[in-house]
């Protein structure tokens, strides 16, 4: 309503919004601040580091020029002019990789690949299932639809024991390939219901007449899905992929159950938890790792957000 607001109202509004932002953003600022502080500075309540320290980031990203302790014999061997530069580098690398560092890159890659695969497979399966539930008519459709709604709400913790026992039962848990396949399948099914749900709701907002027009134009329904529905849903498909990606990126429960003994294949949540509980006084590294884990999600969110804003069906149908 076009009422002139008083000064008191404005001050109150400003204070409330400031308090809200402080509450929401403070933890992020705290993480960023601590990730840049030297150990001596941790207890300092000020958020601004007395000296900015990038060591934690450098170490996680493998940018530190690590002092490689080479045995004398190797040093002598390296001085041999017969050895080429590549061979020399390879030998030094060998000693470097044995150094006790936290392989953040490796964990990130593990998590990224697993999350990406989950997002792709889940979104693909969900697209067809959601289209079927939203648009096609057949017996039992509402039962299928309700089942998806139900399993959407069944938490992973209820399936933990049976899924583990199933993996053991068919011998998938015994080796790393089987374990990864099991885990990927579990991530897919953990994200599938939400993906079907979101996409189903989205498809229902697309006017039926668009597919009808395509069919009149000579395309079969399945062709209409590929030429009209999927291109038109790109923003939503990306959003759904983002959700699936984040769910997988976050997942700790099944990763901890299935990957415990395969250290090289740890995902970030598992690795960070291990790092956190195994060593003391490494706040800068943990906070830097937190920031780096947050980053891809932030980027993905910004991208997906832009797509959502661009709007899907606007304009094609009369408002």
């Amino acid at each position: 309503m076009a009422v002139k607001r008083s000064l008191g109202y404005k001050v109150l509004l400003f204070l409330a919004v400031s308090a809200l932002l402080l509450f929401t953003l403070f933890p992020f600022v705290q993480i960023l601040s601590t990730s840049l502080k030297h150990q001596v500075d941790w207890g300092n309540p000020s958020l601004i580091p007395t000296v900015v320290n990038f060591e934690a980031y450098k170490e996680l990203l493998g940018l530190t020029s690590q002092e490689v302790e080479l045995p004398e014999t190797i040093k002598i061997m390296l001085q041999n002019p017969a050895i080429s530069e590549e061979q020399r580098a390879a030998i030094i690398e060998k000693f470097k990789s044995n150094a006790d560092i936290f392989p953040f890159g490796r964990y990130t890659l593990n998590t990224f690949l697993l999350s990406m695969a989950t997002a792709l497979i889940s979104t693909a399966l969900a697209t067809f299932a959601a289209y079927s539930l939203a648009r096609l008519d057949y017996r039992g459709r509402s039962i299928f639809s309700n089942t998806v709604m139900f399993v959407y709400m069944v938490g992973g913790v209820l399936l933990m024991v049976p899924l583990y026992q199933m993996a053991v039962g068919i011998g998938l848990a015994g080796h790393i390939t089987g374990t990864l396949v099991s885990l990927l399948l579990i991530y897919v099914v953990q994200t599938l219901p939400v993906a079907i749900y979101m996409l189903g709701n989205y498809f229902r907002t697309i006017p039926k007449s668009l597919e009808e027009a395509a069919m009149i134009d000579g395309y079969s329904r399945i062709e209409a899905i590929f030429t009209i529905i999927i291109p038109l849903s790109r923003p939503m498909l990306l959003t759904v992929m983002f959700y699936c990606f984040v769910i997988a990126w976050n997942e700790y429960l099944f990763a901890s159950v299935f990957l415990k003994q395969y250290h090289d294949f740890h995902t970030l949540p598992l690795a960070l938890q291990t790092l956190f509980s195994s060593k003391n006084a490494i706040w800068d590294r943990i906070m830097a790792a937190s920031m780096l884990t947050l980053l891809p999600v932030l980027i993905a969110f910004t991208l997906a957000n832009r797509y959502i804003a661009s709007g899907g069906t606007a304009g094609g149908v009369k408002e």
């Binding site: 006017p207 007449s209 009808e212 009149i216 134009d217 079969s220 009369k318």
Partner: protein, 366 residues
Amino acid sequence: MAEVRLKQLVKRYDKQEIIKGIDLHVQDGEFVVLVGPSGCGKSTTLRMIAGLEDINAGTIEIAGRAVNDLQPHLRNIAMVFQNYALYPHKTVKDNILFGLRKSKVSRAVMDDRLKQVATMLQLEELLNRKPADLSGGQRQRVAMGRALVRDADVFLFDEPLSNLDAKLRHHMRTEIARIHQNLKTTFIYVTHDQVEAMTLGDRVVVMWDGEIEQMGTPMDIYLNPVNTFVATFIGSPSMNLIPATYRESNGMIVMADLELPMELLPGVHTANLKDKQALYVGIRPDFFEDVHYASELEAYWKLPERTIELIEPLGFDKEVSFSIGDQFVKARLDLRSDLQAGNALGLAVNPERILVFDRDNGMRVN
């Protein structure tokens, strides 16, 4: 180009019949308009022809072949949707060519047709835009273009102009009539607007409640409606229906204080009427004439003078209201009649334009 035949077509939703067994034969190259109030089943009929609704009984033939079992994409039809249904992610050009791409015509033919359609519908400037960047009228033209570019057997139009404002609608109506005159292909056009139906159709099919009430040329339907539904639905302002009774003793149709001699009316067989039978006398407002200017007054039925109760000026015409008994009646007179409310009004009607209906079942009796 092809003819379309509907035979005993039935559509049910939850056991309720929406289309109650209709028969229709659309000739090759004919422009047929299905018209009726909303819910009469005209759009459903069109969507059944397109294959977008399944058929519960009866057959549809296009170009002599039964298409009941064919999915829409195999029927070789083109359609303009009420909401246009343009593909939002495709440019105007790609929207128009989408159907041709599938039918695998050569590049040259495609360009040629696109150019033809774009010129015909004045779309040249818009080809690279997306639907969101177009005005309502432009979107409508693109929707038309998408249909017309195809070499379809039948062109279907589902209320294509209902989302346009009055001026644009009138303009596009003329355009569509012109396009059909040039193309001479089979058009089936659905509308609830009787003016569109009258102006566009070679033949008009009036539907009501899942049935065909009447089909015929626009003039036939205007002048000779078979029942009160068609009589009042077609024509604006609507036909006056004046309650009346037949008096056998002197062969008069009595409307309150008025008496209309039966012998004036052509085609009414008194044998079909019973004494005191309840009737409606139907007279279109357009067919009243001011006695001062009436052309052939001798043969006309002259009403005793009425008092004007209301005048609604429309420019060239004016609608003049008066009463016959309790019934409000409208007459449309032109500029020449310089009248005011309260004035006495002398009117006459060509008896050939007077229709008589049975009041119980609404059917024509003359």
